[in-house]
Amino acid sequence: MEHNSFPNTDIQPILEAENLSMRYEDGNLALDHVNFKVGPGEIFVLLGANGAGKTTTINLFLNFIEPTDGQALIDGIPTHKDPLAAKRKVAYVSENVMLYPHFTAIQNADYFARIGGQNHYTENDYRDVLRRVGLEDEAHHRKLKTFSKGMRQKCGIAIAILKNAPAILLDEPTSGLDPKAGHEFINLLHSLRDEGKAILMSTHDIFRAKTIADEVGIMNKGILVMKRTREELANENLEKLYIDYMTGNGTLGGGEDHD
């Protein structure tokens, strides 16, 4: 499926950061007036070094912390005002999916699907989704404690798919994946995008960001210093841009800079 150019301003965004700011009690400014929108069928990648504010942004969308200014909206619902309603619209994959080690893949999938409000799945449904993410049949009834990190990550993605939410948040989901698994993961993410999911992903992997994203935002010290669409990036070197912004040599122009 050929993907539409981004951003499409006519479509109501599913994920939206509106002047999103977070200052910790110790005075440390973790996020400074971050703005972005992710519409259905779009992948927005937050690129940045450790401590740039990527995970804080995701935590604000999940209402694990409350913003000190601005708001995070999921399908128009401010997450800090009605967190439960907002969470119904989002699935989440963490950097290091652990799950319950004494449960099988299907048991884990069943539990998280049910607390995600999906009570109608059969074992075949679980198997189908597990196969889709690349988990072979023999692993479906194996306990998670026997899984490799890559297998657990696939299981985590399967859980996110099973929730069937319009938005998916992925926090460094590709860290630790081998190249083959990484490639499969990119294909999977594209297929989810093609199904109309709004995807927000954080990573520090420039190559994957470029391959996956419809739009990339570079974060540095809590500030979204640059945003580029896939089309814009076709004529630019993302690696150079990233290094420039990280070292403070970033320049305005060629898209929407620090907002």
Binding site: K87, Y92, P101
Partner: protein, 490 residues
């Protein structure tokens, strides 16, 4: 949602490695404790049967109601299987005679000191020490363990209300620890019945109360485990905190309570009181002897100048008055000593009572202590067991003595085993030894009835401890809820 969360909790615990090992250890301990408890009860019952049999035989062999004495044995109660309390420390019987003090002698531990070395581990102990520790082992990582696994973040990324989550944690842990306990407890009940321990209706009510109390106690530790795991970031930290709390609650606070009470409300020891009485007694005897000597000197002075015959006549005339006077002074002196002894003992008992009340109050700061007090009260084996028995034996002594006195008068057997010495007016003595003396009808002697506590009395005595446990548990549950509402899941 709540049901899904509880189901997950149950599955998570039941499939985990902790459950099966904990369940097996609990089962073995409960069954072993019950078996040993029943054996201990049966041994106490045999000893009781032998003692009462011997006493009855001795009474039935008596041929006179004069100078009757007996021995009262304490009947063992089946509730000692559940909470032994002071049963084995308290004497098994007390002598019963006119001049002798009521005292329960020959405890199991004084007769068999080796039993004191390897004290019997009753069900109360298993709950108080072992199962409370298991409750902590079950729950120390209930919340922070999920945070460490990353499952807490994943769970709460869904529309799961935190209140439901923490309540499901509590309910799941409770069900997976408490419900499996019913299996060994049920088997132990069957074991008690099969081994022939007589249980009356009141015992079943007490057993039910004991079980309810024990479950409440474990509930407290489960709630505490969840509260601490929801206050700390790491499971190693929460385990350390809970272990310190457990050691303080189970081992330190009850003993510190006793020590503090002894400092705040000191009471002299029996030896000190005996020494005081002894000193006073010596002083009074010395005064008495000095008075006698003074009286003797006065009498001697009065005979000065008299001839021997006049002096003898003077002494003969006054001898009885002097003897009467001397006897009066001696009795006054002895009454004085007795009163002094009673005053000191009353004072000592008052001080000890105050100290005991204070110690109990302080130790109740520990839920383990509150549980122990309530368990012993329900089983009737708390420290008041001694007073209860001594008071009942004292009452029985009056009843026994009144009865024997009445029978003595009724049967005319006011001599010792029918043996009598009669002194006639001419000064000759006649000794009479009756032949074919018939034994007295000992079966008519009123029997000692062990002081039974009715359930309302038991309930009243254990109310404060049960109420405290309820308050502690409710407070900890509220705290667990409040802390988890603000818990940083990242």
């Amino acid at each position: 949602m709540f049901a899904i969360l509880i189901q997950k909790e149950l599955k998570h615990i039941l499939l985990g490695p902790k459950f099966i090992s904990t369940f097996l250890i609990c089962t073995v301990l409960i069954l072993l404790s019950t078996f040993i408890g029943v054996q201990d009860y049966k041994a106490a019952q045999s000893s009781y049967d032998a003692g009462t049999g011997l006493t009855n035989q001795r009474l039935s062999e008596k041929t006179s109601w004069s100078h009757m004495s007996s021995t009262v044995y304490r009947r063992p109660d089946p509730m000692r299987i559940f909470s032994i309390g002071i049963s084995n420390d308290l004497g098994r019987f007390s002598p019963l005679s006119e001049g002798e003090a009521i005292r329960l002698d020959h405890s199991v531990y004084s007769d068999n000191p080796i039993y004191a070395v390897f004290r019997f581990l009753d069900l109360g102990f298993i709950f108080q020490v072992v199962l409370s520790l298991f409750a902590i082992l079950f729950t120390f990582n209930a919340i922070n363990g999920e945070r460490e696994m990353g499952t807490l973040k994943l769970t709460l990324s869904n529309d799961v209300p935190r209140a439901q989550y923490v309540l499901a944690k509590f309910a799941g842990s409770w069900l997976s620890l408490i419900v499996p306990l019913f299996i060994p407890l049920l088997i132990s009940m069957l074991m008690i019945i099969a081994m022939g321990v007589p249980l009356a209706a009141v015992h079943w009510v007490k057993i039910g109360s004991f079980m309810g109390l024990s479950i409440l106690y474990l509930t407290f530790f489960i709630a505490t485990g969840i509260m601490v795991s929801g206050m700390t970031r790491n499971s190693s930290g929460s385990f350390l905190i809970l272990l310190i709390f457990w050691v303080s609650s189970v081992l330190i606070v009850p003993r510190v309570g006793m020590m503090l009470a002894a400092k705040i409300q000191p009471a002299p020891s029996i030896a000190e009181v005996d020494a005081q009485i002894d000193e006073y007694s010596k002083d009074r005897w010395n005064e008495y002897i000095a008075d006698i000597e003074e009286g003797f000197a006065v009498r001697q002075a009065a005979t000065e100048g008299m001839t021997d015959e006049e002096a003898q006549a003077y002494r003969d005339d006054n001898e009885w008055d002097w003897m009467e006077q001397g006897e009066k002074e001696r009795l006054a002196m002895q009454t004085d000593i007795q009163n002094y002894r009673e005053r000191l003992m009353e004072n000592l008992n008052g001080q000890k009572h105050k100290q005991e009340v204070l110690a109990m109050g302080l130790s109740r700061l520990s839920p383990a202590s509150a549980y122990m007090h309530a368990a012993m009260q329900i089983s009737g084996t708390h420290s008041d067991m001694k007073d209860r028995y001594e008071s009942a034996i004292r009452e029985y002594r009056t009843q026994f003595m009144n009865y024997t006195e009445e029978m003595k008068k009724k049967t005319g057997m006011d001599n010792i085993n029918g043996f009598s010495i009669a002194i006639s007016s001419d000064g000759t003595a006649e000794m009479s030894i009756p032949k074919d003396q018939k034994p007295i009808d000992a079966s008519s002697i009123p029997q000692f009835i062990d002081p039974e506590q009715d359930f309302s009395d038991v309930f009243n005595r254990s109310t404060i401890d049960i109420a405290l446990l309820l308050i502690f548990t409710a407070a900890v549950l509220i705290a667990a809820y409040a802390t988890f509402m603000r818990y940083d899941v990242r």
